[in-house]
Amino acid sequence: MSLRHTPVQWNRTKLVYDAVLAVAVVGFIVVFLRLAPEFADTTRPVDGAIQRMRAFGVCAFLMLTLILCIGPLARLDRRFLPLLYNRRHLGVMTCLVALTHAVYVLNWYFAFSPTPKLTALVTANTAYGQLLGFPFEAFGIFALVVLVILAATSHDFWLAFLSAPVWKTLHLLIYPAYAAVVAHIALGYLQDATNPAFALVAGGGGLVVAGLHVAALMTDRARHRSNTAAATAASDTDWVDVGPPEAIPDGRARIVRLDGDERVAVFRDGNRLAAVSNACAHQNGPLGEGRIIDGCITCPWHGFQYRLEDGRSPPPFIETIPTYRLRLADRRVQVHRTANPPGTPEEPLTWTA
């Protein structure tokens, strides 16, 4: 949490995260450059610049694969949450590695081009009407542009400025970008490769991403199905059933899905119950998967905190989230469908066992 925007809110965890990341990237590049020539086809030797281009390209692909795996992994198992803590730095570093790959491509394949290198890159192959020999560079350019946009809009300012729906929609471009990277590899390097190692790496990485997303989606739906079914069965037009209060673990929340994309987190703190939006004001982390620490709802992603009474961060911080009205009916908790404006005081509901 902060009062003013700063370039980076450094702390020890982020420093360790970034240091490990930097060592891993440098280590991968060094090992790749050392090992790749030994597995290369000796009948078709490649230049050192091409090896470096491939090293950065493979590294960027693996980093992007890791980025896309972190989200579903954290939803499937909370032990992966630390990976998510500084994912945006991982994204920025991936963008830099991918840019290095692109610079090697331009400076090697188009070094002596009579036209400007970028112009040569997009005009060298225009056979868009055929699959074999398709200009796979277009997929790489698209993915690189997306990575640059996402890295350039990764500061906290952008989410607050553009609003969560717009910012999140923009950052969902990572999905088509990853599909474009897979196409870039499949219609590019894999067309020519004789060593199956990279095909296995690319295929395995892509299939792991696909499998994890399907698994997380199914788990998420199963987790919310019971709540949604109960809500539908026991709801009138304005109030949605949450269940008996004792079913909510103390210090934790039950997440209820309302209409569309809206989700409510109903927290229990002893015999007090309070309902807030499930989306953290910081980066839309799932507040309902967090817990109550020091009397405040605490986001599991970055530790942003909010008071139960009004959805406001404790002073001097200024973040706010919407609150919801609660009531008890036949010893079951019900939440009102309409959110209060962010930061609206709403006295927690008390109940006796």
């Binding site: 925007h5 890295a151 809206e262």
Partner: protein
Amino acid sequence: MVLALEVYLGAGALVTAVFLLWGIGRRDPQARGSFAFRPLLIPGVVILWPLVLVAWARPARAHHRPPLRLQEGLALVLAVAIPVVLVTGLLVRQQGPLERPAVLLAPADADMEGATR
């Protein structure tokens, strides 16, 4: 196309200068008196300046409805697209499973083919 790109980025540079030096402090309370982070925003504003102008003109609102359903849909499409793209890439390989093996022409056939050219 290059000229259009230059015009677009030039307009972006203009919007960036006005926004980061004047507009941002009026729009975001957390940006008032804070200058060190502003250079980090330059690439984003230059690239997305039309979106910045729209967001700048709109009153500040708090939002709590991230597009979860869109994310779920895209994740499913991605899960289907990845194996399709990979398999397609391997199928169209010149040395892939759909490639018919090369057949050496008999000398007579080769001569005839040369004669017809």
